[in-house]
Amino acid sequence: MKSVIPMDETYAQRIWRLFKRDRFAFIGFCIVIVFFIVAALAPFLANDHAIVRVADGSVSFPVFRSLEPIEWRFLLYVPLAGLVYGFRGPLFLRVGRGLWIVAGVVLLIEFALFFHHSFNDVTNDRTLPAAFKLMPPIVYSPIETSPDQLVPPSWKHPCGTDSTGRDVAARLLHGARTSLAIGFISQSIALLVGVSVGGMAGYYRRWVDIVTCRFIEVMECFPTLLLILVVVSLCDAANNMIIIMVVIGLTGWTGVARLVRGEFLRLVGQPFPQAAQALGAGDLRIIVRHLLPNSLGPILVTATFGVASAILIESSLSFLGFGMQAPTPSWGDLLSEARKYIDFAWWLAFFPGAAILITIMSYNFVGEGLRDAVDPRLRVK
């Protein structure tokens, strides 16, 4: 058996080693990764456009023409994140330079997308003759209606069709993107707000802390769902993904803020921030370079649970008719349609329900595993 010498491990390696031991957490992690890949590749998994089409002596890639900006974002940012992670060594040798490079690439992508006009291609490659064509595994687009309404699952439609004949499997795959995008972006907003507010309270203490704590208490008295429901509907923001993300983010930061405040209160008293201060480091430097990295573990844990709850809130909103609505596929919206046909069309409720359940459970198990790995005190002996 390979022995592990504790001093040889970095903090991240230790967490990863402990995390991998938790079987449920590890399976959850794998599922999360798979869902991410599915979300990124959704247009290539379910589409009525061919991926490669050879006809009349020319090769074309019809899928790419119909991609919308959000699909491009998924296609570009997910590999970008992988690249940044892969080259984190050379890239972040100097943190400032690495950040500039990443920001530059992001700006470049956004700039290109700003001038990109998605082309609404109504041709259906399924029936079009071609010398050679490579179709996605599911040959229906998520918004393509057909006369085959409310068909139970079959070989042709693995998850059945809905009341307007749209393929449920295609809608599910594309719906993964809505859920994951909203979950991650709104949780990033929550993290940003929570870390800044909580960090300020924990670092500056005194009246900043008092005011922050009162404010957090006020925020925590409101039932999140009710608050979001009211704001989203009064802003006429149903179907507006950005406002929904922002609202979910702005109501979900209190937990993070509380946690960061507590961590900072604990850390500020220790010698290393004082040493940094003695060396002339400014507040911002102490917070970002010394305190934040030391509280990263617990923040990561809350963020993981936060993504789960953001996905849950998004699907609840869609279910109640206030979130993303048809034709944009979203799991909650699929379920809310299923409610009308619950008497006989079980497949309408089953597949999206299972998707939401599996996603949320995976995130929760990952969060649990991370918590145990990060905080050895909580671990069951």
């Binding site: 449920f24 009162r214 404010f215 208490e217 006020v218 925020m219 925590e220 008295c221 409101f222 039932p223 999140t224 769902l225 009710l226 608050l227 429901l229 009211v230 704001v231 509907s233 009064l234 802003c235 006429d236 789960a308 849950l312 699907s315 609840s316 279910f319 109640l320 909650g332 379920l335 299923a338 409610r339 619950i342 008497d343 006989f344 079980w346 409720a349 329900g353 939401i356 359940l357 949320i360 459970m361 929760n364 198990f365 649990e368 069951v380 002996k381």
Partner: protein, 329 residues
């Protein structure tokens, strides 16, 4: 201790102020002003109201007032439990809420009590069998339940137990059967209970995870303490040590975590009332959101926040009163 209680009570004031201010800001200053939309879905696509009628509405409800003045008025009225009038039927908001709140509170209350009754013994059992398969099974099961979204559970239950192709044991919708008004009261109560079973189940299972986890942690903490060794040394039976000495001390913190469940419970009640079409606060929220019925929305949001606030307050006070070891100066 009196000082502590007084200070704790005084701390409620800024929070109450914050709650009303935030509610007011969110709803009053949202772009979708009530007067703009009062026409509803008229023939002209929501613009059925003439300019004069709109002016009148604005005047009548003081929508053109300075926000500061309007806020002052609203809070002043709140202090006298006057939540304003509904835009839709001009009835006092407090009456509309009073009609609805009973059902929601009894629904959420039953669910809360039930989740305690189930989760506390589970947590205690898990603590006593720490690290054994029973412990693991309990924690995985409650965690699994915790991860099921409430609307998924409701749909599955409706599909399998109420109507549908499978069992048809329980009613699918409503708080009572259509002919409820003709029933004798025992029959009426039985009818109501049948209608409430599924909603209560849906609201209960989600809280099991956190409560059982708290019970487990609390029990584990108590089990490691010295006074239990003393009790055993005194020759008390193991049963007595655990179920009298340990349990009593473990229950104190468990009782106080209920406040933390309240916001999620209220959110769950809204969804559940929507799915099972129950005439509670949740349904009122949906109706008033659709009609942009400002004062009703503000009333409901404020009341649910205040209920949570009172929950926290109650929990804090009980904690101090029940546990003689805690001394606040």
């Amino acid at each position: 201790m009196t000082t502590y209680l007084l200070r704790r009570l005084l701390l409620v004031i800024p929070t109450l102020f914050g709650i009303t201010l935030l509610t007011f800001l969110l709803i009053r200053l949202a772009p979708g002003n009530a007067a703009m939309l009062k026409g509803g879905s008229g023939p002209n696509g929501g613009h059925a109201v003439t300019a004069e009628a709109r002016e009148q509405t604005i005047k009548l409800y003081g929508l053109d007032e300075n926000p500061f003045v309007a806020y002052g008025k609203w809070v002043g009225n709140l202090a006298r439990l006057n939540f304003g009038q509904s835009f839709v039927d001009h009835r006092p908001v407090i009456d509309k809420i009073r009609e609805r709140i009973g059902l929601s509170v009894s629904l959420a209350g039953t669910a809360l009590v039930l989740s305690y009754v189930i989760a506390v013994p589970l947590g205690i059992l898990a603590a006593l069998r720490r690290g054994q398969p029973v412990d693991r099974a309990i924690s995985v099961t409650v965690f699994f339940l915790y991860s099921i979204p409430v609307f998924v559970a409701a749909l599955v239950l409706i599909l399998f137990v109420a109507g549908g192709d499978y069992l048809n044991l329980l009613p699918m919708y409503g708080a009572n059967s259509i002919n409820a008004s003709e029933m004798s009261w025992p029959a009426w109560v039985w009818d109501r209970i049948q209608h409430m079973i599924l909603p209560v189940i849906c609201l209960t299972y989600g809280s099991l995870a956190s409560i059982s986890r708290y019970s487990r942690a609390s029990m584990l903490e108590v089990l490691g303490q010295d006074f239990l060794r003393t009790a055993r040394a005194k020759g008390l039976s193991e049963r007595r040590v655990i179920f009298v000495q340990a349990l009593r001390n473990a229950l104190i913190p468990i009782v106080t975590v209920f406040a933390m469940e309240l916001p999620a419970l209220i959110g769950g009640t809204i969804i559940i009332e929507y799915i099972f079409t129950l005439p509670g606060m949740g349904q009122l929220v949906f109706q008033s959101i659709e009609a942009r019925d400002q004062f009703v929305i503000m009333g409901v949001v404020t009341i649910s926040a205040v209920i949570t606030l009172l929950g926290y307050l109650f929990a804090d006070i009980v904690y101090v009163l029940v546990d003689p070891r805690i001394r606040y100066e």
